[in-house]
């Protein structure tokens, strides 16, 4: 039988630092895509409430006790760090845990680093907000786990490129700041 080696998406790539900026991988949480069935919004809301969460409006996220739910598109959200079983019957649930690389960027100037890669003004982006946009040419889910910190989610297959582009932007920002 094949011996499979478990690796994280950014294994051997992260962490990296650049001045006061740091880039590290976030691992271990279960990720489930939640797409509500028609007419099930009320029951889904009740099931989420038991997890301390609520269905996110577009461009928002909410969290409680290590679990979070992030808006990711029309009638779709990602439940992160929680068991989705209690939502069964109210929404289509799809395990996405191994499909995404999650990368946390933080430190002074983090928004300026992302300004080089993301076509959205992220000054003032704060916990509770979520958005879908691009990181370079990669589709991205972006949240703010803490003030001044960003969590970037890209497809796992894009992990190396995402780390490369982010690290490059961090170095360029640091070099420019030193002038």
């Amino acid at each position: 039988m094949a011996r499979l080696i478990e690796k994280t998406p950014c294994e051997a790539l992260l962490p990296v630092t650049c001045g006061a900026l740091s880039l590290r991988e976030v691992v271990g949480d279960r990720i489930t895509s939640v797409a509500p069935f028609r007419g099930q919004a009320t029951k889904l809301a009740a099931a989420l409430k038991k997890l301390g969460l609520s269905w996110p409006e577009p461009n928002s996220a909410n969290a409680k006790n290590g679990a979070s739910i992030v808006w990711t598109g029309r009638d779709q959200a990602f439940l992160i760090g929680a068991d989705p079983d209690s939502l069964a019957g109210h929404a289509a649930l799809t395990d996405q845990s191994d499909g995404w690389a999650r990368i946390r960027l933080e430190g002074p100037g983090a928004a300026d680093v992302l300004a080089r890669l993301v076509p959205v003004d992220l000054r003032g982006f704060e916990p509770g907000q979520a958005l879908r946009s691009q990181l370079g040419h990669m589709m991205m889910v972006l949240t703010a786990p803490a003030p001044g910190a960003f969590e970037i989610m890209v497809f796992r297959s894009m992990a190396t490129t995402a780390v490369h582009e982010l690290h490059h932007a961090m170095k360029a920002f640091a070099a420019r700041s030193a002038v």
Partner: protein, 102 residues
């Protein structure tokens, strides 16, 4: 050029993929006359002025959007989700304003 996604808000044009005239969303019913299919497949207005077309928020939320814009001024006049415009699956489409010349 910036387009307002009804869900995400105002975004750069690079996040969107252009599909074509919004008439693509008004597919004739199954038993429609050949002339209706001919119109649907091949005949398009080419207005100098207001027009409507379909855009896909490809690098954003993945929603299909109907954009009303002006081909002369490049102004984006309004946007709405294709899911909310009606007219799909052979259902009666909402009236479509023909392009006006400027």
């Amino acid at each position: 050029m910036r387009i307002t996604c009804p869900l995400c808000g105002t975004r750069d044009r690079r996040e969107f993929y252009y599909y074509g005239d919004a008439v693509y969303a008004d597919r004739p019913a199954g038993g429609a006359a050949p002339a209706a299919w001919d119109d649907y497949l091949h005949l398009r207005d080419n207005p100098a002025g207001e027009t409507r077309d379909l855009w896909y928020h490809e690098a954003g939320c993945s929603a299909w959007i109907e954009v009303t814009r002006n081909t002369v001024t490049h102004a984006i006049l309004s946007t709405r989700l294709v899911a909310e415009r009606g007219g799909t699956d052979g259902a009666a489409p909402k009236p479509r304003t023909k392009g006006k010349s400027a």
